[in-house]
């Protein structure tokens, strides 16, 4: 290839205070390729892309686009240079139509009508070229996340982007939707577009990219041809040491049923029924994984079990029914019944970020008489215990006086896990145990979860990472639209079958299933649209 690189970054450096987020980064992305950027959280991927898109100004370094040096001072300059960005969190106006969102900021004149008409034509053409079909008149709030993402891509293409950056695009998608996205990206590549894919999922890198760059602690540690590398090698480059990608565990030896859920129903404050009659058993000494795309009721199920919200139906713990609607249906009474809860959102639920680490180690258990001294809390004892827990769980830095917000994601999660596990509960609810956690800590957290299972605890695991569900669970229940579509044993199923169940298809045989997915998604959208109306 003799053409100039579509993007060439030379010596990019960026510091925030004393933190060097990017250190002398050099990268060349050839036109018409898909280039992956992989790295742990905080490795500097997002900072680098923000510099490329004009959100941050680099302290040093140069950006060359198609062989000319560019000074990208803001996102408009990036768009002018032909760069389009699809963010992890979509930047769409919820109550605008697809068409209105596409032209937003790219209107041709004061009057909307001509722009809308022009956009309609362009969209039709793009839809045919790249399988990017979305109803141009649908409101964003009525679209599935997969479709919303297509709108983001359409926005970039409408602005004639030749270079498309996607930041963790598959985090919110079903496997089927992700496959569709990859087909779109392949199509774009064929047309000569250049794509940068930022992800922490090794599988995606292996599946779709041509070249991959690995970032670690603000530095670009390697750029390799995808065909010439392996997931193990990439993981090692990301973390800087050998990583066990598979969870090491013995077969489960489940005993009595500890948690019995029968016909559980929950309607949220907007009047949408989120749980539609869930029944599920969890036995001592097994990990039951709840698979599903975000927003299909897993969150609500955990919240009901954790006492954060009310529901109807029956939940029995060790054979005894618990209160689901009354005054005492709260986190305190759940803990008293031996249910510990690692919530999905550790920033807003599991931790009080401005509190010190030691204060957080009793959060939820702060009323325990054992840590009171007369009318006061026995802070000295709590602090000493916190120090011991932090040492045991290898929380870094091991400073109990540091505010929770100053720990990295992995270490925050360890603080939450330490708190919940050390209480020796009968049941442990775990939501997204490794979301925003780096690979090194993931290994540790997975080992802890398995260790607790082997101690005979009943474990209910919710994760959007199908890989995590597959490797940790002893039994997998798949949720779709507030219902459990089926249970499978990890040894007797695969990603494809689970993916179909996650899309609401119970007949997982044959090609008919594929058509049923789209049908189901459309039906779900229509239902939710009618509820909003």
């Amino acid at each position: 290839m003799t053409a100039a690189p579509a993007i060439e970054l030379k010596g990019i450096s960026k510091a925030f205070g004393p933190v060097q987020a990017n250190k002398d980064i050099a990268i060349r992305v050839m036109p018409g390729t898909i280039h992956g950027i992989i790295g742990e959280n905080g490795a500097g991927k997002s900072t680098l892309m923000s510099i490329l898109y004009g959100f941050y100004k680099a302290d040093a370094g140069e950006i060359w686009i198609n062989g000319t040096k560019k000074d990208i001072t803001d996102s408009q300059a990036a768009i002018d240079a032909g760069i389009g960005m699809v963010f992890q969190h979509f930047k769409l106006v919820q109550n605008f139509t697809v068409l209105e969102n596409v032209i937003l900021g790219a209107e041709d004149g004061a009057m909307l009508r001509p722009s809308l008409a022009k956009a309609r034509g362009v969209l039709k053409q793009l839809a045919e070229e790249y399988e990017l079909n979305v109803d141009p008149d649908a409101l964003i709030e009525n679209l599935s996340v997969g479709h919303q993402q297509r709108v983001e891509i359409l926005k970039a293409l409408y602005r004639e982007a030749d270079i498309l950056i996607l930041d963790e695009p598959t985090g919110v998608l079903t496997p089927a939707e992700a496959d569709h996205l990859f087909r779109i990206l392949e199509g774009l590549k064929r047309e000569g577009k250049t794509i940068i894919l930022i992800t922490h999922k090794l599988r995606e890198i292996m599946e779709i990219t041509d070249t991959v760059s690995v970032m670690r602690r603000g530095e670009m540690t390697a750029t390799v041809k995808t065909a010439e590398t392996s997931p193990e090698q990439l993981a090692e480059l990301m973390v800087g040491r050998k990583v066990l990608l598979r969870v090491d565990k013995k077969p489960a030896q489940p005993k009595d049923t500890i948690l019995e859920i029968r016909d559980l129903r929950h309607t949220d404050s907007a009047g949408v029924e989120r749980l539609k009659g869930i029944s599920l058993d969890v036995r001592a000494g097994e990990i039951v994984g709840l698979a599903g795309v975000s927003g299909n009721g897993q969150t609500e199920l955990l919240r009901v079990l954790g006492g954060m919200t009310h529901a109807t139906g029956t939940i029995r713990v060790n054979g005894q029914e618990i209160d689901l609607t009354g005054q005492h249906s709260d986190g305190q009474s759940r803990r008293a019944r031996g249910i510990a809860h690692v919530p999905e959102d550790r920033h807003h639920e599991g931790l009080i970020l401005p509190f010190s680490a030691w204060e957080n180690t009793v959060f939820g258990y702060h009323r325990d008489p054992a840590i009171q001294k007369g009318p006061l809390m026995d802070n000295a004892a709590i602090k000493a215990e916190a120090q011991a827990k932090m040492d045991r769980y290898d929380v870094r830095p091991p400073n109990p006086n540091l505010a929770a917000r100053n720990f990295s994601g992995g270490n925050q999660q360890k603080i939450v896990l330490a708190r919940e596990i050390e209480r020796d509960p009968d049941i442990l609810l775990i939501g997204q145990p490794t979301r925003g956690v780096d690979i090194g800590a993931i290994e540790f957290i997975h080992q802890e979860i398995v260790r607790l299972r082997d101690k005979g605890k009943a474990m209910l695991l919710v994760s959007v990472e199908l890989d995590e569900i597959m490797s940790l669970s002893d039994r997998i229940a798949v949720m779709f639209d507030g219902q459990i579509m089926g249970e499978r044993l990890p040894s007797e199923t695969d990603q494809t079958e689970l993916g179909l169940l996650m899309a609401g298809v119970t007949d997982t045989q044959g090609k008919r299933a594929i058509d049923a997915i789209e049908e189901n998604l459309r039906a779900k959208e229509a239902r939710e649209a009618s509820k909003h109306a």
Binding site: P18, D330, G331, H341, I352
Partner: protein
């Protein structure tokens, strides 16, 4: 490091705010043709150089400690109680009823009862806004400010129609019996040869205020209730996860806040006026907001900020004795300090933070 150290946030930010306010005040004084340095010296002289001045400074400070603590406690539960004024008025009513209708043998006994009455009445006045916030989501800022007006009207009615001695022209109660008069600093510290605090209203309720600081500190940072209040204030979703009842915490925080505001009446009504008059708080409920903001909602900070505002109040009153400086100027100076320490906090903090970060990077 993405933030400046805590000490800088607690000390430097208020310090710079005051300096800016002082500088602008100096410009105003210059503009009316006076010398700002002499004016400042007059304030210091009047508020800090004589024991009488100190007596007034501490008297005002006592008010601001109570109302500042009131705002601070509500802040910890992420509520903005701007009803300190009304709660203090009701506290005054409680104090007056107890003093007028219970025969006390000694002031110390009366103080125990008036503390309870002032707290109960103040808390009762905060209960309704607190309950409405917790149960109905009625915004606490709106309801508490409305309750200030209701309190003023209620007090007006009670004083004119019920408590005013027959024949009196003024809407005020009769003077309280002598057994309820609190000892002033003059009573306590002066000796024959050394007439300390003569003629100044500072009284024993100052020590009640100091005790309140300590108790609030214990409550917020050492008890499980304080833990729950702070957790709730930082994150409502987190509180829900932990099983901290939001209605109860909201109501309890407002009760404590209202009780503290109400206790300010110990100082003004029982300590100084020795009868209940209309508008006894004289705006101290609002100054409490600035005091709490400047004191970072920490009892020690509130105490220091209350001293500063006490000084400011007395100093400005002293300035008013000067012929050439109009009384309104004092209000301008107070307003500037409140503006900079309270409202424009971030205007000072952000450049300071940048400066710190730049400095930190040079060292790294």
């Amino acid at each position: 490091m993405d933030k400046m150290p805590a000490w800088a946030d607690a000390v430097l930010v208020p310090l710079f705010s005051i300096l800016i306010a002082a500088f602008l005040s100096a410009l105003v004084i210059l503009a009316i043709g006076e010398n700002p340095i002499t004016a400042f010296m007059a304030m210091v002289d009047g508020a800090l150089m004589k024991s009488t001045g100190w007596g007034y400074t501490l008297y005002y400070a006592t008010n601001f400690i109570f109302t500042g603590l009131a705002v601070a406690v509500a802040f910890h539960a992420r509520m903005f109680n701007i009803g300190g004024e009304g709660q203090a008025m009701l506290g005054g009513l409680g104090v007056a009823l107890v003093c007028l209708y219970i025969p006390f043998p000694h002031w110390s006994v009366s103080l125990i009862f008036t503390i309870a009455a002032a707290g109960l009445f103040g808390a009762a006045w905060a209960l309704i806004p607190g309950y409405l916030q917790a149960k109905r989501g009625s915004h606490i800022v709106i309801t508490t400010i409305m309750f200030n007006f209701i309190a003023a009207a209620l007090l007006n009615y009670v004083l004119v129609n019920l408590l005013k001695p027959t024949g009196a022209m003024e809407p005020a109660t009769a003077s309280f019996p002598a057994a309820t008069h609190l000892p002033t600093f003059f009573d306590m510290f002066a000796s024959d040869g050394n007439p300390l605090f003569r003629g100044s209203p500072a009284n024993v309720s100052f020590f009640v205020a100091v005790l309140a600081c300590i108790l609030v500190w214990l409550l917020i940072w050492r008890t499980k209730l304080g833990y729950e209040i702070r957790a709730f204030g930082h994150s409502e979703t987190g509180a829900r996860y932990a099983g901290i009842p939001n209605v109860r915490i909201t109501v309890i925080a407002m009760l404590i806040s209202g009780a503290l505001a109400g206790m300010m009446a110990l100082n003004t009504t029982q300590g100084e006026a020795e009868r209940l008059v209309l508008n006894a708080p004289e705006g101290a409920g609002f100054i409490g907001i600035a005091v709490a903001l400047m004191g970072r909602s920490h009892p020690l900070g509130v105490f220091l900020a209350a001293l500063l505002f006490g000084f400011l109040y007395q100093g400005v009153a002293e300035l008013a004795f000067w012929n050439n400086i109009p009384r309104e100027l004092g209000m301008v100076i107070q307003a500037l300090v409140i503006l900079f320490t309270g409202a424009l906090d971030n205007m000072v903090r952000m450049p300071l933070e940048k400066l710190f970060l730049a400095f930190g990077r040079d060292k790294a």
